[in-house]
């Protein structure tokens, strides 16, 4: 079902109108399409055929003719021979693939270009018994003389004949006149060429077989488009071979002039001359079918508006009458389109030859294939039909013809035949089916006034129609001749779709005004009718592929009877086709299986690896140990380089460092957010990796808070806590929210919060569950001084409970006031670490304050002098007014030495601010080898300070 279909129907209809004149050509150049696909035989050692020119009987005018013949020989032993005949308009080249395949199966293969085709001489006589058929007999004679050909009797080779369309008819006719043929495969061919070109669907008697058609004596309307097409394809053949003996005889191309003249006449008049009819009758298997004794496989296509199923049916009837073994195979291909089961049909053909020709099976034994095989059309276009078999052809050889009545809802109607036969309905457009289009073309088929629709009742139960439905009605016309074309449509919902692009043409000679009863055979095919289906038999007065009378007339249809449907319930073959797994499904399944196995394998490997995480019991008492951490980002930047520090219980550790020092990277590694290249992080003795359970003992605020904006502050904390999977009682929501001091804002969505509110909520979230280790990255961001002051004792007292707090901050004064310990990082390394008190206050360091505006040179000289003094280890110019002196002597001695060195000391202190320590260690770390240039040093420090503050 496609709802889109009607939308594009208009498009397709337009394009099909455009291609209609050329469309019939699609099927014609390859009449052997149905059996042209070679079996999937390995083309390992290709045998080159022996090419020879075989003289055959002369043309009617006495011109000598020789055929272009190829023989695929066998190297050793005696082998059966297969005559491989090509289709109309082709040549021996068009059967090369089949010849190779048959050769592989052990046959000597003879292929030839028929008279008037390819490089052979002569003209086309359309399978004249005196010419084309006689030529084939000559080739049998030729085969009998070959040393590699098996003989039944002297001059009688073990021989099969195979071909499609033109070649198929040749096979049947050859078998009819030459007893030497031991097996025939004949595809999409005719029984009576006159009936094929002047088809008549009006019946004398009801059919006794599935697709049987016993037409009335009046010839049907002329199948103009196909005839022209035949004609043109022969003309093309003439153009292709310059070596043609036939002269450039007018528009006849390589056709025999008599035949040509009769065809042209028919085309001009649109009616059949008795002469032409007699000729076409003679050039058909029909007259000699009764004499065929060679077992015959008949392959006929549903998609064939040239030689319908009725032609194969007639051939089968003749074979059944003479008791010759036969099998019938209906394909969904034909002259209008390719079969969806070409491979199976080719294989069945080869098996037929193998059985009866190569293996000389008894004619009384079982057939190598089902007696009747047909395809049930797929529900959707483009899908292969479902092959189904019956043990006998319905109506023949003991097979019953089962029928079912389908009553009509509309029993009468009227239509006109337009003057000049134009416009003509478009139904049997051969190209349309080949394009895989199964859309409603009803608008261009049922031209208003020129058609009448006879709808059936919905069918009660699902039915498969196999063959030609039959119906009766009464025709009244105001002219002596009535032409009608019947087609079968399916009515579903609001749309009407063509079941098959086939028509059943009817041409009646009637007395004007007098009702004439008529019985017609609708197009033979396999139809699937689900329960509730309604059919519409559309009767049109014109059809574009036929020669339409130019005389206008009015036609009345009355008393239309129920349809008689030939039905069958066969056995479907091939589990692969009917719902099983095909290649595509198997490939997809295999891929899926591989992927799932991969996933399972990966999961197992990781599970095992996770179990082997080493724990460090010796570190179990230490909340945080960072050892040798290294992280290099993908851009090559080494953000953290061998960083080691630890935070003990009860400590408030400050992590300090300028921008890019690697603080945040370290923090993220501590939390398992990014992986380290080397080193380890242990929290309470357990190694931290992504998602380690021990992280549950850590509360963190990293690079600012992150909340779901649509939830309130309280909901956010609850959502976070829900994600940990721990019990609500352990969270202490109220107490944590008390830290945040949000007041009534806790029940407002977070998106309305200020930065400070979010920051406080973030700290509160970190404190949820009272973690043993609290890691706060820049906790004072966005807080005002009172809030900072309020936070300070909280953190201090938090640590006093035996828990640990790690703070990274740029607010150096803040760190100094809050932290007990400090770790200073710079450029990815730890420069110094220790107690804050130790860093800011040490015995060996003395701060010397100087007045402003001291002369640079004097200062430098004094500093050098002081450095030279005994016991002074280092003199650093902190700022132009402040010196840091490190010495192993007492502070009084240091002051004395400074005064002695000529420094104008105005103040002395023991304690530095953390900021100074920080800047000092950073400057010494960033320029370890450079000499101390007091002026520059001061400037760069100020610059550094500015950078730090700017953060």
């Amino acid at each position: 079902m496609s709802l889109r279909a009607p939308l594009i129907a208009a498009l397709v209809v337009a394009s099909s109108l455009a291609i209609a004149p050329g469309a019939p050509a699609v099927g014609a150049p390859q009449p052997t399409a149905a059996i042209a696909v070679p079996a999937a035989a390995p083309a390992a050692d290709q045998v080159t055929p022996e090419v020879s020119s075989v003289p055959v009987g002369p043309e009617p005018d006495g011109t000598g003719v020789s055929l272009d013949v190829s023989v695929w020989p066998q190297a050793s032993g005696k082998h059966p021979v297969v005559l491989l005949a090509h289709g109309f308009g082709g040549s021996k080249e068009s059967v090369t693939d089949q010849a190779s395949a048959l050769h592989e199966r052990g046959y000597v293969v003879v292929a030839w270009s028929a008279r008037g085709h390819g490089a052979s001489g002569g003209t086309i006589h359309l399978n004249d018994p005196a010419y084309e058929i006689a030529d084939a007999r000559k080739l049998l004679d030729l085969a009998a003389t070959r040393s590699d050909v098996e003989l039944d009797a002297p001059g009688d080779p073990r021989a099969g004949v195979m071909g499609g369309s033109y070649g198929g008819a040749l096979g049947l006719m050859l078998a009819g006149v030459d007893r030497r043929v031991d097996g025939v495969v004949s595809a999409i061919t005719w029984n009576d060429l006159a009936d094929a070109f002047f088809p008549q669907a009006a019946l004398n008697t009801p059919p006794t077989t599935a697709a049987g058609r016993a037409p009335i004596a009046t010839p049907g309307p002329f199948k103009q488009v196909w005839a022209t097409n035949f004609f043109l394809s022969a003309g093309r053949g003439a153009g292709a071979s310059s070596a043609s003996a036939a002269g450039p005889a007018s528009s006849c191309g390589r056709f025999d002039p008599t035949l040509c003249r009769l065809f042209v006449q028919a085309s001009e008049s649109g009616t059949a001359s008795p002469e032409l009819l007699a000729l076409l009758h003679a050039h058909s298997p029909k007259p000699t079918m009764a004499q065929v004794t060679a077992p015959t496989l008949l392959v006929q296509g549903v998609a064939d508006s040239l030689f319908g199923l009725d032609q194969a049916d007639a051939n089968a009837q003749a074979l059944a009458a003479s008791g010759t073994p036969y099998a019938v195979r209906w394909s969904d291909g034909g002259h209008d389109g390719p079969s969806s089961h070409e491979a199976e049909e080719t294989e069945a053909s080869y098996q037929w030859l193998d059985h009866y020709v190569r293996d000389k099976a008894s004619h009384d034994g079982p057939l190598p294939t089902a007696a009747f095989t047909y395809g049930i059309p797929a529900t959707r276009s483009g899908q292969p039909s479902t092959l189904t078999t019956l043990p006998a052809y319905p109506g023949l050889s003991g097979g019953p013809l089962v029928t079912r009545e389908l009553p009509l809802a509309t029993a009468e109607g009227a239509l006109v035949h337009p003057p000049g036969g134009q416009p003509a309905s478009l139904i049997a457009v051969p190209g349309l089916a080949a394009l895989g289009i199964s859309l409603s073309t009803y608008q261009i088929a049922a031209l208003p006034g020129q058609s009448t629709a006879l709808d059936t009742q919905p069918i009660a139960e699902a039915t498969t129609v196999v063959g030609s439905p039959v119906m009766r009605f009464t025709v009244t016309s105001d002219s002596r001749e009535v032409t009608l074309f019947a087609s079968v449509w399916r009515v579903t919902g609001g749309s009407v779709t063509l079941t098959n692009p086939l028509v059943a043409p009817v041409r009646l000679e009637v007395t004007p005004g007098r009702p004439t009863p008529v019985m017609i055979s609708l197009p033979g095919a396999t139809y699937e009718l689900p329960a509730g289906t309604r059919w519409r038999v559309l009767l049109t007065s014109t059809e574009s592929t036929y020669a339409n009378s130019r005389v206008p007339s009015r036609i009345r249809i009355t008393d239309a009877s129920a349809l008689t449907l030939p039905v069958a319930v066969g056995t479907s073959v091939g589990g692969a086709v009917a719902g099983g797994l095909d290649t595509e499904a198997i490939i997809a399944l295999a891929l899926l299986g591989v992927l799932l196995l991969l996933a399972l394998g990966g999961w197992l490997v990781r599970r095992r690896r996770r179990r082997h995480l080493p724990a460090r019991p010796d570190l179990a008492d230490i909340p945080l140990v960072v050892e040798g951490l290294v992280k290099t980002y993908s851009d090559g930047h080494r953000a953290v380089d061998d960083v080691s520090w630890r935070a003990e219980k009860g400590q408030v550790v400050g992590l300090l460092g300028p921008n890019g020092a690697g603080k945040t990277t370290t923090m993220r590694m501590v939390m398992g957010l990014i992986s380290s290249d080397a080193g380890s992080v242990h929290v309470l003795g357990e190694e931290v990796q992504a998602g380690s359970p021990v992280l549950g003992r850590v509360g963190a605020l990293i690079e600012g808070p992150g909340f779901l904006p649509h939830l309130t502050g309280r909901q956010n904390l609850e959502a976070y806590w829900a994600a940990t999977g721990r019990a609500t009682e352990d969270a202490h929501f109220d107490e944590a929210l008390d830290v945040a001091a949000l007041g009534g804002a806790v029940d407002r969505p977070v998106k309305s919060y200020s930065q400070g509110m979010r920051q406080r909520l973030g700290i509160a979230q970190a404190m949820l569950g009272l973690p043993e280790l609290l890691i706060l990255d820049e906790p004072t961001n966005g807080l005002d001084p009172p809030q900072i002051a309020a936070m300070r004792p909280i953190l201090r007292r938090y640590a006093e409970t035996g828990r640990t707090v790690v703070i990274s901050s740029h607010m150096l004064a803040e760190v100094e006031m809050t932290c007990t310990h400090v770790v200073v990082m710079h450029a990815g390394r730890v420069i110094t670490s220790g107690l804050v008190a130790d860093l800011v206050d040490s015995d060996d360091t003395t701060i010397v304050d100087l007045p402003e505006h001291v002369d640079h040179h004097a200062l430098a000289a004094a500093v050098h002098a002081l450095e030279a003094s005994e016991g002074i280890t280092e003199v650093r110019v902190d700022t132009p007014t402040r010196l840091v002196v490190v010495a192993d002597r007492g502070r009084a001695d240091v002051v004395a030495a400074a005064v002695g060195a000529g420094l104008p000391v105005v103040g002395v202190s023991s304690r530095r601010h953390l900021e100074e320590v920080f800047l000092g260690v950073i400057s010494s770390a960033s320029a370890p080898g450079e000499p101390i240039e007091p002026g520059d040093e001061g400037a760069s420090l100020v610059e550094r300070l500015r950078q730090v503050r700017a953060r």
């Binding site: 398992g672 992504a690 976070y720 721990r726 008390d738």
Partner: protein
């Protein structure tokens, strides 16, 4: 400590903030490593549903889904009033059929929505889950909660796919209800096939929706994978939709036959087969298998990527 009554939050103003917290704190040193007890697994599905449920995108997505049938009814109502003349075209036939009963209405709805709306919703629900957390900066807090990387993905994926399933089920069910109320409870009139009774139609519709759901999985998985690569929700959702459009374009190229059969989306319309009178399930089988292949492949890529990636958001 636990005996002392906790100060009520209203009293908090009387004392400095944090005092309440410090009061409930017990010295940690006493019991060094009390085991952390979990009552549920980290980021349980329920927790994830709560995270996603109140979001505006979820509300909008489902709101749109629920509004679509009503908009359709409204437009039919307008159409009836404004064009009394018989337009006759094929399009009007679809619309006429939509109004012939609940079954047809819901089917038309599914037809209209399956091509883009459901694809978009699948990409949204699955593609947005991870990057939205990243963009709110809450992803890192989830991971240090701690939620294992794989566990986080699983919860996000389950809820995302679950939301997609809910949308896929809700659409025809709501369509049936709305269609039934406005156009009566007639069984399916097939525009090209034959009519189905309710007994035939409902299981087939369920099958078709199940199939549509499976064909949505590749896009969902692609969106999910892109979501683990990007911190921008739009990049993940838009990227997946873009991929789906691109594949649709490539699918039009006959030169790619038969390889295009493997494209996700090649068999996206095969669900219509389930509603034929004689259903042909071969295309649906192919489509479902290929969809699962792609869905599993991209889900694996997503896990692989997220397990190893550094969270820098």
């Amino acid at each position: 400590m636990s005996e002392t009554p906790r100060p009520a939050p209203t009293d908090a103003g009387a004392q400095p903030p944090g005092e309440a917290l410090l009061e409930v704190m017990e010295p940690a040193g006493a019991a060094p490593t009390q085991a952390i007890t979990r009552v549920r697994s980290p980021l349980s599905w329920r927790a994830e549903v709560r995270r996603q449920w109140g979001r505006r995108r979820t509300t909008w997505a489902f709101g749109l889904l629920l509004a679509l049938p009503l908009v359709l009814v409204g437009s039919f109502f307008f159409g009836e009033r404004s064009s009394n003349s018989n337009r006759g075209g094929a399009t009007s036939r679809i619309f006429d059929l939509a109004q012939s009963g609940a079954a047809n209405f819901s089917l038309v709805l599914v037809f209209l929505a399956s091509e883009l709306l459901l694809v978009l919703l699948a990409a949204l629900f699955c593609g947005d889950a991870v990057p939205s957390e990243a963009s709110w900066a809450s992803l890192r807090y989830l991971l240090v909660a701690p939620v294992q990387r794989a566990r986080l993905l699983t919860s996000k994926l389950v809820v995302g796919v679950g939301s997609t399933l809910l949308a896929t089920v809700l659409l025809p069910a709501w369509g049936l209800l709305v269609g039934g109320i406005f156009y009566g409870w007639d069984p399916l009139t097939n525009p090209l096939g034959e009519n189905l009774t309710w007994g035939q139609f409902l299981p087939r519709l369920a099958l078709a929706m199940g199939y549509i759901f499976i064909t949505l999985l590749p896009i969902a998985a692609i969106a999910f994978w892109l979501g683990t690569r990007s911190d921008a929700p739009l990049a993940a959702v838009g990227g997946a939709v873009l991929v789906s459009i691109l594949l649709n374009i490539l699918d039009q190229l006959d030169a790619l036959d038969p390889y295009r059969n493997a494209f996700p989306g090649h068999y996206s319309r095969a669900w219509q087969d389930a509603l034929a009178v004689t259903p042909d399930y071969s295309d649906m089988l192919h489509g479902a298998l290929w969809s699962l292949v792609w869905a599993v492949a991209f889900t694996m890529l997503a896990y692989r990527r997220f397990r190893r990636s550094d969270i820098l958001s």
